[in-house]
């Protein structure tokens, strides 16, 4: 319960912002008290980003005013916002990977001992001191590329603190974090709040909001539709507020009636871009009419496996069969012909051409098939008709079929991909992070569609970093850890904790949990280890589908000795293909 009686650190009054055709913010009132963690909740396109852009000086409101400590203020731009103590931690980090932590923090805020040289020593001192104050020891000399995502986030927060931010805006800070990392970040946020910082926390994840926030403001279609205190609300209530109707957070998946194996994978090995073996001999099958979920912390070989299965990457060895046909190393075009559909994890990189009209994106994988093509020519009428149908059937919210896909919100972009990939007669469907970054309404919709496809007899492979999603949808669950499948269990009876343990350690032995820690050195070593493709021997005792360690370049266990700076350099960005 919040009984803070001080004046608001920030007050936004009657903020209205109109864009051609839409009112993005419609008289929004928001006040944040000092030391408060205030969650901002809303669907994609509800107006959260616009509101935060106004606060950060990136947009000017048409009406309304902003008060800082009770004083009406005009915020001219991001640098003005920073000067006034407002800082933003973006969802996609704005860090330079090849620079050190200290240099990243200094960037744009160089402390000058004299007009020519940087005062690095003073900067170091302040960074270390700030880290200590908020409960994380950080080595300012480590390259950002060698840090795990969780630590990179801390660097972003430090950057804000270094600039003496009093109001921090965190845009979906947990989207890229593991449950463990999320806990740690929450600890940091609580300490920040305890020191009097005000935090605006933007998230889609209802249970997180309930856990961390002091107050929750819900925005729908540009208006504040409600304000709640966690103790007086629950997930269903928040979801209903957000979407404007009752939402089924967990889609009723019913019972599956699987037939024979449709997609069979045996001893598949795949190398990553740098030639390290990322997938180390996985074997599984997906039966027609079932959903096999692959759980795992991001970066454990899932991307490479999916790319190999969908023809984007050639496996080094192993065999993939689709309905009895050997499709190992077959390209995307042929796989599509054989009835495979693929919803890629990175919709903006693979799934869509953002600069193209929505309707062109809706035929991106069918453009050369009838009726969308007539001989060598495109059939614009057929494309347009299908686009109209898809927009209606899949509830894609767009002004028209001809606006470029890049102007749509993330949820609607994903619906477009789903509309395209689900709409054909398919035998196997690979869903890679199908709901990443989406709001509850879109998630519910996509989950329903997936279940419907399953019941229509499709074999579905679901790869997701969201454990909840895997748990909710899967008939069977495989856990991937360092390129291997370390567990393969029945979906409905699986225990969340067990799966989480396999995800974090590759085995069911709780002692291994000691490996996860808040210490910087261990985090760096772990990141470096995963980076170099080091193979722990941990998988062999996990049983089930585990593959005994057979990797030729395997080192004996994780190298704990490789401290900061000793790890291999980050992803090779200079390289060619």
């Amino acid at each position: 319960m919040t009984q803070i009686v001080s004046a608001p650190a920030l007050e936004m009054r009657g903020i209205t912002k109109r864009y051609p055709g839409v009112v993005a913010n419609d008289g929004i009132d928001l006040d944040i008290k000092p030391g408060e963690i205030h969650a901002l909740l809303g669907e994609n396109g509800a107006g959260k980003s616009t509101l935060m852009n106004i606060l950060y000086g990136l947009a000017t409101p048409d009406e309304g005013e902003i008060l800082l400590d009770g004083v009406p203020t005009t915020i001219a731009g991001p640098s003005d916002a920073i000067d006034r103590g407002i800082s933003m931690v973006h969802q996609h980090f704005m860090l330079v990977p090849v620079l050190s932590v200290a240099d990243n923090i200094l960037l744009g805020e160089e402390t000058m001992a004299n007009p020519i040289f940087l005062d690095r020593r003073e900067a170091h001192r302040r960074i270390v001191e700030l880290g200590k104050r908020f409960g994380f020891e950080i080595d300012p000399d480590v390259k950002v590329a060698n840090l795990s995502v969780g630590w990179q986030q801390r660097v972003e927060i430090l950057k804000a603190l270094y600039r003496e931010a009093r109001i921090l805006v965190l845009d979906e800070p947990t989207a890229v974090l593991t449950p463990q990392e999320t806990k740690e970040i929450f600890e940091v946020l609580r300490r920040l709040a305890a020191e009097g910082h005000s935090i605006i926390f933007i998230s889609h994840k209802l249970y997180e909001v309930l856990e961390i926030a002091d107050r929750i403001t819900v925005i729908r279609r540009g208006k504040v539709v409600g304000s709640r205190v966690p103790a007086e609300t629950d997930e269903d209530d928040l979801a209903a507020l957000m979407v404007g109707r009752n939402v089924q957070l967990v889609v009723d998946r019913g019972e599956s009636h699987p037939a024979g194996p449709a997609l069979t994978v045996s001893d598949l090995r795949v190398a990553d871009d740098r030639g390290h073996e990322a997938v180390k001999g996985v074997t599984f099958d997906v039966r027609a009419g079932e959903i096999l979920g692959v759980a795992g912390v991001a970066g454990n070989g899932q991307d490479e496996m999916v790319e190999a299965l969908t023809g984007l990457r050639k496996p080094t060895s192993g065999r993939v069969e689709l309905n009895g046909r050997d499709v190992t190393g077959t390209g995307p075009r042929e796989l599509q012909k054989y009835g495979m559909s693929f919803v890629p994890g990175d919709r903006q990189r693979f799934g869509l051409v953002l600069s193209f009209p929505l309707e062109d994106n809706l035929v991106l994988t069918q453009y050369d098939e009838a009726p969308y093509a007539r001989g060598p020519f495109r059939n614009e009428t057929a494309i347009h008709d299908w686009a109209k149908r898809a927009i209606a059937e899949y509830d894609i919210r767009t002004p028209s079929a001809t606006v470029s896909a890049g102007t749509l919100s993330g949820g609607n972009q994903q619906k477009a991909v789903v509309a395209r990939e689900f709409s054909r007669d398919l035998k196997a469907l690979i869903l890679d992070q199908p709901t990443r970054g989406l709001d509850v309404g879109s998630i519910e919709f996509i989950h329903r569609q997936a279940i419907a496809k399953r019941d229509a007899g499709a074999a579905i492979l679901l790869v997701s970093a969201e454990l909840d999603e895997v748990m909710e949808l899967s008939d069977r669950i495989a856990v991937m850890y360092r390129g291997e499948i370390v567990a393969l269990v029945d979906g409905p009876s699986a225990q969340r904790e067990d799966i989480g343990l396999y995800m974090a350690t590759g085995r069911s032995d709780p002692e291994a949990m000691a490996a996860t820690t808040t210490s910087m050195t261990a985090a760096v070593a772990a990141a470096a280890g995963a980076d170099a493709g080091l193979t722990g021997s941990s998988a062999s005792d996990a049983g089930l589908d585990a593959n005994p360690d057979a990797s030729p370049d395997a080192s004996p266990g994780p190298k704990t000795g490789s401290g900061p700076g000793n790890g291999p350099d980050g992803p090779d960005r200079g390289g060619g293909e």
């Binding site: 969908t310 799934g351 051409v353 600069s355 193209f356 991106l364 994988t365 453009y367 060598p376 102007t407």
Partner: protein, 392 residues
Amino acid sequence: MNTLRRLYALSIIPVVSIVLALLVGSVLIILSSPASQGHLDFLLPLTAYEALIEGATGFSFLNVDPAQHLSFAISFDGTLAARALTNTVAAAAPLVLTGLAVGVGFKAGLFNIGGTGQVLVGGFAAALAGAAVAHQPAPIAVTIAVICGALGGALWGFIPGALKAFTGAHEVVLTIMLNSLAALIIVGLVNDVFKISGPTFARTAGVGNATLPILFGRNGSLGVLIALAVVPIAYTLIYRTTLGFEIRTVGANPSAARYAGMSPRKLIILTMTLCGLFSGLAGTIEILGLGYYPAVFGTSIGFTGITVALLGRAHPVGILLAAILLGAMRAGAPSMQITAHIPLEIIDVIQGLILLFLAAELVIRRLLRIRADRVTPGELKSVARSYGQGNV
């Protein structure tokens, strides 16, 4: 989005670039006036540009009397205009083709600066083929020579395309080298193997009946029609066929193209070949207009194609308009030289300035507070990408 706003968003930067180039050009004309006029002449740009317009269109709005007094007097002479416009159109025709050779490349995310080499090889192939069929009936001779010229250019586009696709070598580097290679090999061949005795300078044999027929005016040849016909073909190819969709997808997002089952490798080779074919046609209509291939065939139409493509925003219709504008500048330059005593080269300077301002789009937007639009095609991105990473 309505059509008018779209049109504005697409054309504002080219228009501003032209205006700025003309303004800076006039400063240079004023600064150089002591050399040409004997004194600093602040009105010289006006006279110069007026003469340029008159030379390109036959339309005159200034009267300069012998005492250097200016007065406005609109005059229009039908025959003069017909001749001027024919000159403009004839100068524009090869630029349309070299512009397309760059613009279509941009659509696939490729920066083809091998126009010059492709023009030379295309022209040379047309000259050799033309000489071989010089005594056939004209329709047959012209058809064969034109086809050979186009194929010659296509070959010179195919080579860098294949090298890029299979080795990952950068198309900018490849095409620059192939420009020199083409120029030197052909000069060698014309001076040696294919030199004919008779003329005082080295040249290949005449193309006889393969010479492009003049359809209108003094120099309005079949080449103008060829260039005009290619514009709708290119438009249809890019925007109305599935192949064009593949080309545009590879250019806009190579990863998505791979995901969609397209073959970036095949498309790179195909697009570069097509670009070479367009340039080859440009060289063909130049050489088949001239009637033979001279050892000293200096041509800038290949490089001018880059300006044309950027000015036309890589769209076939825009390229047509841009080519007509630059063609008009070519056609009007001699009249400017005669009337205002300004060297022809000022046209190259203005053209270079246009390119400079087009390339500095971000700076221009910032300075003139022109809002970024969302309809800009990715052509400038391909230019930038060409220097950074060129891989697919």
